[in-house]
Symmetry: D2
């Protein structure tokens, strides 16, 4: 009765990083069973991957089209599929599986253009299937905690939103030296028109949006390609303006030497302030105006239900990246189970959806437009 | 060919914490498949747990004796079993499964007395089966890194070993207020003769031993039971002396208000110093005498093979408790696979064994003996 | 022969904060002797202050005009004067003392308009006297260290400049509740046209300029007055562009709840990165591309002469705000001693001058101009 | 009327470190005027030092005996003297100045033996003069804050006292390589019978005693001399037992590579816990049982009068070592002023006295006795 969800995967063959992460995320809470896949555009590599992953040979498909069709025809069809291909290969497979009546869990960004994302939104609505976008950082318990604290009014009226995501692995032209992942991320044909802004800027933007519950109405973006010969941006300095008067700063860089994977969010309202960063992922600093700063911890004193329900081990025992990612899968499972009976999932269940995907692409496109026009104020068109 | 290892479990029924951790750890790297269990002394709860865990009803056993016998008789018998019962229920099941020719993965401490641990050592040798003790903190990549750095001579001749493990969840008599886990841990009949020293002191001792590669010859322990009515120690102040002249201090406390799960190791030799703590589990501070302090990170620059081979995600993406625990299971899997053909596992494979279990009990018993005699210097008898 | 420098002070009477800071700074290294002053516009309070400060009654003056005249006429005239009045009262006294042949040490910002600052520059040149602006954060040893490291090329070609100065003491309308210092700082008549941007934004801008050795050519500023009824800005989100292609982000806020006095600078070039913040004022994090992050400490291993020569106690013994401020006075003393003989001070001597004052006002005025025009790119006119 | 206190100094000639620190400390709050001294056993160096320090030639004395006599005879005699010579030269000068009716401010440890300290106690009582011991770390605002919080009962009944003071500058035999300060500190003839334990262990012990208000009744000390050829201890592992049932651990080391000047205190009672360390000297971490950890800051929210009255700059502006040292001088000045009229100083005034000196030597002697007897429990005889 409490059967695992049968899951397929597109992409994620041998040697890839993000596919392995999705699989661990799916496995961690034991809610899924990987039973089918089209793991690689290279059929041999695809089959070898399937064998390694305990997927039956007959369910190792040459391409996603065949997979969607054949799976849909099986009685024990997959119920959901994870799409973990590079950015430009999200759109078509998603359409195919939705049409086949299969829920889709898709890596971010959802597509390479806003127009595609909107087309997808329509297709999702028409299909009646679930679409889950793995903006994994929203799965961190302390990020959930921040969101709940904002919703509870602990910060009052928002004034400042500061978010940054800095890395240093693209500080040199490693894409020309065969670096894994750097090649397609710096190639407009495969990554889309955004470089750092698409790869990590969207994460920063998404987490700020998720926590504050607000989306900016306009932005001003000064994108740079510091490394010689690089076409796409490798960093972005961005100002944000919100309807309600709050203002923001967003920084994304993949050339900030000394930053391995620095994601940080700080928000301040007239009643309080919150600070969180990836280096201390299980903690949160909260100051109520005029009182001493508190350090709130995952599952510690002061933890709200919104964070404890997505936490697995007691306070003081660190959780990390894989657990946060797994929470997206866990929430997706909750929603899929509910969908079996046509029910809505429990109100507490939260997962990033096509709405987040559209918001992310609206952000990327507005930023690129702003920067190309000389870094001017630009409306975020959704 | 690359089949998952068939795993059974003793203990870990609904509501328990550590059983769930073992299962996630076994699942994370997809090397095991849970197919049998005796999950609870209460048969109904055991069967309900089995159902939840996708274990076939006929392989949900009423007790470990039946389980060992019946599994041994199956063609698709479990190859390994996880024993996750309270301390006093490790010894008998371990013996039973070894006799049945099944590898054992056992929660720590291995037994409640040194004598039992020694008896087990003999039984293990006789059985030719593997015995893996889940001293999970040795699975952290940065703990592996420290060990490798010591072995590489970066610290020179060791002088100071400082290790501490502090919590605060037993600051009051929560064992009388129905607190999960507090009851049996403070009960000599179930926990053995050590309280904090057995529960967390052994972890501290084990990590120091693992990293330094040295075991102290004698210790002096001043144990306390600060909370009124508590029989077992809830904290321990300990001095250590090593053969090679190094000296140590070990502190374990479950009544140190403000410490959620503070495990920290600092070691200093004549050439360098290393500092690590649980709050920043993915980092390590290393100082070579006369040079600036370096922060080494998991998978970052300066990471040695000893740590990268047990790491799953890139630097800057936090790993945590579950990943460390999973590494013990991954290493056990490596050893089990090798054992299928009678081969030794790769030299890089490391897992805590009965030797660590004996060392831990020798430590506990010496500490209790020392404290009862007025906190005097006491040889650690192994 | 090694006589203390005779010093006067304008402003800084009883109850003021910054005057007391200047006096401690002057005293710390025993290079000055306070012998005259016009401490308050209220003569009684001025005389009472003089008495407390061991200043002879006949050298307690009613106003700076009288003070400049009478001191100039004495054989034991003051050699230098500290001007510690609110911003709008810097210009006239400075002119008066320069004319009287007396060196001037002046609190920042130098004036309330760029035009005045430029007029002052001419007057300084004409007078042949020294003018020292107390941009005290440039006195911190680790800030000097960063500057020297940039000059030594350790960062390579600069890409990112991130500087921020956040406080929270103006989060509410405390200027209407009698808060010390808040009244004049939020009053355009006394503070000038900049609020947070003048009070702390200039510090942030100055430290970035000091360390990088670069000044931006243009900026874009989005200033806000979040607190109802406040006329001047209480926060500023600013983008910077440098001639050499580097780009920057500057944030100043006095309404960021939880920030007591957070000043932080991070700079990244193609070879390395540096991070420093006020909370750990005696440390610096330095990463050379591809190597582990190092923590450099004041007077510790790796400290350059540029920082050790302005440090007073061994590494590990914290220095702070007053020591940094005192270094400005120490450097001024070095320059004044050299000036006695018409010599240039030693090349190592560094102090903020009218050039920094002009740069600061150019920054403030450009920021206000930019913001008023809708937060558009604006040339910094000097 | 508010005249500065006339101060003399014994020791502290050119090139010395601690003498300069005492002078800055005396100067910082402008309560003293240095007017006499016997700065060096070498008369020429003494006179040169005097000239540099603006001390009149006739008040530069060849030795402390002459100084005490001649100063006592002057109408404008010094009112207090600072004794900053090596440890073995504290006793005789103190006696001489007390006899001359002059208050004494003396560097720690007060003497090299407990017997001398007790003799001094009698002499002080007989003299009616003040004796201030510069245990400077008790001058830190956050240390004062901790003490007040303990007194206010916020920690409840004390259980754990953990204090440590670790340095690394004696990790090698630098005393044989001409290192300043290392020579006399490692020489029993000049330092007394304690090495690290006397130099820094007493600071650790003193701060723990100051904060908790409790002195241990017994200790057990395992001293080591890790560096070859070193006679005195360079590190000490110590257990403490208090009358009231609390227990402690004290670690002092001058060979812990990577520790520049790490002083840390952690105390835990049944109601709360406090943690403080030198690296973040302006902060304090406080946890009330069951509540989130708070970070209390100097002059920040939650700061008690006990800390704000010895603080000079607003919260967020770091104070450091010199300020803490200056507070000892400020408190001494308060006491000296009160003594002029025979009054007691205000109840809030706190300074370390001969009682602290005796306690410190009782600690050192008990520790050495314990260690020599094989590291056994030893009563602290006072």
């Amino acid at each position: 009765m409490n059967k695992r969800i049968r899951l397929g995967m597109v992409g994620g063959g041998q040697g890839g990083f993000i596919g392995a992460v999705h699989r661990i995320a799916a496995r961690l809470d034991d809610r899924y069973e990987l039973v089918a896949g089209s793991f690689s555009s290279n059929p041999e590599r695809g089959d070898a991957s399937a064998a390694e992953l305990h997927v039956a040979p007959e369910r190792s498909y040459a391409n996603f089209t065949e997979m969607a069709e054949k799976e849909a025809a099986r009685e024990d069809s997959i119920e959901a599929v994870s799409i973990v291909t590079p950015n430009h290969l999200h759109y078509e497979p998603t359409l195919a599986f939705l049409k086949a009546g299969i829920h889709v869990i898709c890596d971010k960004p959802v597509t390479t253009t806003l127009a595609e994302a909107k087309a997808l939104q329509k297709a999702i609505a028409d299909s009646g299937r679930l679409f889950v976008l793995t903006h994994n950082y929203t799965g961190y318990p302390m990020v959930r905690q921040m969101r709940a604290m904002v919703q509870d009014g602990l910060l009052g009226k928002l004034r400042h939103v500061h978010v940054e995501y800095a890395q240093d692995w693209l500080s040199q032209a490693v894409e020309k030296q065969g670096a894994k992942g750097a090649e397609w991320r710096t190639d407009p044909a495969r990554a889309g028109s955004g470089g750092a802004i698409g790869d990590i800027g969207t994460h920063a933007y998404n987490i700020a949006t998720f926590v504050t519950g607000e989306t900016p109405s306009s932005l001003l973006a000064d994108l740079s390609s510091f490394v010689e010969g690089r076409v796409l941006d490798d960093s972005a300095n961005i100002l944000l303006r919100y309807e309600n008067g709050a203002k923001g700063m967003l920084w994304a860089s993949q050339v900030a030497v000394g930053n391995e994977n620095h994601l940080a969010l700080r928000i301040y309202g007239d009643k309080g302030g919150l600070e969180w960063n990836h280096e201390r992922v299980n903690e949160l600093r909260y100051t109520s105006y005029g009182k001493p700063m508190q350090t709130l911890t995952r599952n510690g004193s002061g933890a709200l239900a919104a964070s404890t329900r997505v936490s697995r081990v007691p306070s003081g025992h660190p959780e990390g990246y894989l657990e946060g990612f797994a929470t997206i899968y866990r929430e997706a499972a909750n929603a899929i189970i509910a969908a079996r009976t046509g029910a809505y999932p429990d109100a507490a269940v939260i997962y990033p959806s096509i709405k987040d995907g559209i918001e992310g692409l609206a952000f990327i496109e507005a930023a690129i437009r702003s920067s190309r026009n000389g870094a001017v104020w630009t409306e975020i068109e959704r």
